[in-house]
């Protein structure tokens, strides 16, 4: 197999190093003596999948700390796919080069709604039946987890088992349970698995609908199957497993550096933010743990940069000390520190100046909305003054270009809010030109707002494509010198919206779209909106039902049975506050705001350092 690959197949494809495996720090466990055999399958290309922290954690955890085995596989690029199909080469793992169908468990990471067609394609390339109901005793169990699994319903036809919440909590328990029940038939085994907290087996439930297509009821089919699935949470992140020897790729990947996960969760409470709700509560690692992890990862990889990852790294309570400590320890050897996301305030810029080892090119900030009114609606706790002081600090210290992230299509948005974006850009440019001899470059990237499940905006209608196109045309109506606007594709955002808040009836549409050739839908060169719309039409399903409809508080949402700890009442109240334009504070600063996560999951905010909020503003 490997020989054929090297000689006949790989010389004919682009970026062959995607498919060769055997990287430094790879773990090849003995097949025969390992208990449960699982392959971690990432539904996108190698260089994206290898950049994903969750995959690194699970790979190291299963292989180093359990008797089970985990190998890796990624979606082949279309050129490789067509050769694999021609030559009858099944999708294989990068460790043992075994076909995916040989494993007990094939586990997909759901990071993005539109990667579902790649999942179907990978199953098909493995010769595994696409639908759960078609699989037999000899087929692997198909499992999935990740942020998109917090609404698993659109994928219910294809996935046997979902993991809800932090994977490192539930996966080892699942693999043990699978091994202990391996002698059981498939159905019996699934029923056993369904009893584990955080595990959801969609085929064990029946859903009924009202004539208006909203959900009437959801029932487990058997006694003892939980009707509510509660997410799993790592209570003590500081003691949780984190890999010291991540696999070091030979080819350049998207995030090609050592990565520290300084904390998980964020309690700022931006009302549009899915991650901010589903990953509560905030849990930090201690600074000593992080120093140790940085040292070990650099020792075993030789990376030239270490990145501090989290939802909001500048909110890490000891960020100042951490950054300065890392720079002092590793800087003299030419190893740099990267801050991937900056908070909109002057303190952030000062810290960024400290670590910036490359020339000061582009600085990225995310005010998200153009007017104070709309920023209050979404609970983005930033005012114009803060933004301008951050920008001033940046230009003063030599940055020449600033990139700003905004969303369009937010609830209650009107023309003044859109004009607010343009005014803000003008003001930023004005500040820049006071400090720079050359004209500064301002770039603004506009995403189309997609309401996500488990957020205060889950009831809100999403703008339709025509509305978004209008807004884009409005923003583009006059050109401004040295200000560049770019927009996310409104058709892609629409489809994301359908799947994000979809139910299990979408399975048919997804299957049809894949049959029509849809894959790599997150890549603009492969995305075909027409094929998707044809598929909706063919299945007689109206996509607007999921996207542009205002939902009632009384409606049963497809994801209501997934308990993220945050209560529906809290979300509804936040939605009301949004409509009234009232801000909600951060519970780290003012005490509990009653989202419900700590009490219901019996966990707590875990803040390790001295608070740095004093530096703000």
């Amino acid at each position: 197999m490997k020989d054929k690959l090297y000689r006949d197949i790989l010389p004919r494809v682009s970026k062959p190093a995607r498919y060769t495996g055997n990287e430094l720090n790879v773990i090849k466990k003995d097949w025969e003596t390992s208990h449960t055999k699982m392959v971690f399958a990432f539904p996108d290309v190698y260089e994206i999948g290898m950049s994903h922290i969750g995959g690194k954690i699970l790979y190291g955890l299963v292989n180093e700390k359990t008797d089970h085995l985990m190998e890796r596989s990624y979606a082949p690029w279309p050129d490789m796919e067509s050769i694999m199909r021609e030559e009858n080469i099944p999708l294989y793992s990068l460790e043992s080069f075994r076909p995916l169908a040989d494993f007990d468990i094939v586990g997909f990471s759901l990071q993005y709604e539109l990667s579902i067609t790649n999942i179907l394609n990978m199953l098909d390339l493995s010769g595994i039946p696409l639908k759960s109901e078609q699989r037999g005793e000899d087929d692997p169990l198909i499992v999935a987890g990740g942020p998109v699994a917090f609404n698993p319903e659109p994928f219910a036809d294809f996935i046997d088992v979902f993991f809800i919440g932090d994977g490192e909590e539930v996966l080892p328990e699942f693999l043990d349970a699978y091994y202990n029940n391996r002698h059981l038939g498939r159905q019996e085994c699934l029923i056993k698995m369904a009893a584990i907290e955080g595990i959801y087996v969609p085929q064990l439930y029946n859903v009924e609908y009202f004539s208006d297509n909203t959900i009437k009821s959801r029932q487990p089919l058997y006694a003892g199957i939980p009707s509510i699935i509660r997410k799993r949470v790592v209570a003590n992140l500081d003691e949780a497993y984190y890999p010291d020897k991540p696999v070091l790729p030979y080819m350049e990947i998207i995030h090609d550096r050592a990565v520290l996960e300084v904390m998980r969760g964020c309690q700022r409470g931006c009302r549009f933010c899915h991650a901010g709700m589903v990953y509560r509560p905030t849990r930090e690692r201690s600074i000593d743990t992080l120093f140790g992890q940085a040292r070990n990862q650099l020792l075993h990889t030789g990376y030239e940069e270490v990145s501090l990852a989290s939802l909001s790294t500048l909110d890490y309570s000891a960020v100042d000390q951490l950054v300065k400590g890392l720079v002092a320890e590793h800087g003299p050897r030419g190893v740099g520190v990267a801050l991937p996301s900056l908070r909109v305030d002057a303190f952030s810029i000062e810290l960024a100046n400290e670590v910036q080892k490359v020339r000061k090119t582009t600085l990225t900030l995310a005010p998200e909305a153009g007017s104070q009114r709309l920023r209050d609606v979404i609970n983005k706790n930033v005012d114009t003054e803060q933004l301008l002081s951050a920008v001033e600090a940046a230009f003063k210290s030599g940055w020449m270009s600033i990139k700003l992230y905004f969303m369009i299509g937010l609830p209650t948005e009107n023309r003044e809010d859109l004009d607010g974006i343009l005014d803000l850009l003008d003001e930023v440019k004005k500040v820049g030109n006071q400090y720079s001899r050359r004209p500064v470059e301002i770039r603004a990237s506009m995403a189309c707002f997609v309401p996500k499940p488990h957020t205060p905006f889950q009831w809100q209608p999403q703008n339709n494509i025509a509305e978004l196109q209008d807004k884009i045309a409005w923003l583009r109506r006059s050109k401004r010198k040295h200000i560049k606007l770019s927009f996310h594709d409104s058709q892609t955002s629409y489809l994301e919206g359908v799947i994000a808040r979809g139910d299990r009836r979408l399975g048919e549409v997804i299957l049809t779209a894949w049959q029509k050739g849809c894959r790599f839908d997150g890549w603009s060169e492969y995305f075909s909106f027409e094929r998707w719309m044809d598929s909706f039409h063919q299945c007689a399903i109206e996509p607007d039902f999921y996207v542009t409809r205002q939902r009632a508080y009384s409606e049963i949402m497809p994801w209501d049975f997934i308990d993220i700890g945050v209560t529906k009442e809290f979300l509804a109240e936040e939605n009301e506050l949004a409509m009234a334009g009232i801000l909600s504070p951060d519970c780290r600063q003012v005490g509990c705001t009653g989202c419900g996560v700590c009490t219901s999951l019996e966990v707590d905010l875990d803040i390790r350092g001295e608070e740095n909020f004093a530096h703000q503003g």
Partner: protein, 229 residues
């Protein structure tokens, strides 16, 4: 202290680009805690310079890089520390100290030997060689940056050696690199096809080494390092 290093790239790494290969070496230098020297400026980088680019798809028996160290260390110490952390697919075989003013690899390497391993059961390879060497011109379409231009390889083909093993024959073609003509291995493949050697017979291609050609002699870049000679 400045050193020149010769290493072998195993066939498993034949699909790496030059940038990938540089990353592999730089990361190994960090893992091995080698006292490399850093450049000045905003973005300090390791003072490493690679020899001629190993084409994607080929493995190499004798590849080279030069490295600047910030403190002295023994050559043996360097090689053993590096080999301990390099993946098993790369190995450092030789190294030596060079003078500060020794010209860079890219400037002095002017010849390369490519090996084409062919399944030679029923081909008369030596007859093929003779007719190639007897031709006055060997015209191919150029590959690479200046694609599709007529290019005569003749003056850049220095010698062709044949080594018969049990089932296969190694055709070793010594060619010019840079001046007077830069010959790529894929241009050699085209030439072979045109002169009657079926490319389907080729089962492996690799680079045997990079050389400094002076007169009719081919020197290893490790041997020709004196500034004044």
């Amino acid at each position: 202290m400045r050193i020149r290093v010769e290493y072998e790239v195993n066939s498993e790494l034949r699909f790496l680009s030059n940038l990938d290969m540089m990353n592999v070496i730089q990361r190994a230098l960090r893992r091995a805690d080698i006292p490399y020297a850093l450049s000045e400026g905003f973005n300090p980088h390791i003072r490493l310079s690679m020899g001629t680019v190993l084409p994607v798809g080929l493995w190499g028996q004798r590849e080279y890089f030069d490295l600047e160290l910030s403190e002295r260390m023994s050559i043996e110490g360097f090689s053993s520390k590096m080999n301990a952390v390099l993946p098993p697919t790369i190995e450092i075989n030789h190294a030596c100290e060079i003078e500060q003013l020794t010209p860079a690899l890219m400037k002095v390497i002017n010849a390369t030997a490519y090996v084409f391993v062919i399944n030679a059961d029923d081909v008369d390879v030596s007859a093929w060689r003779d007719q190639v060497l007897n031709r006055d011109i060997l015209m191919v379409k150029s590959r690479g940056k200046k694609k599709g231009i007529d290019k005569d390889l003749k003056k850049g083909i220095y010698k062709i050696e044949l080594i018969n093993n049990e089932m296969v024959t190694n055709i070793i073609i010594w060619v010019s690199s840079g001046e007077p003509v830069n010959i790529r291995y894929d241009e050699l493949l085209d030439m072979m096809q045109q002169t009657g050697l079926d490319s389907r017979l080729i089962i492996d291609v690799y680079r045997q080494g990079n050389y400094i050609k002076v007169g009719e002699q081919f020197y290893s870049p490790l041997k020709k390092v004196k500034v004044f000679e």
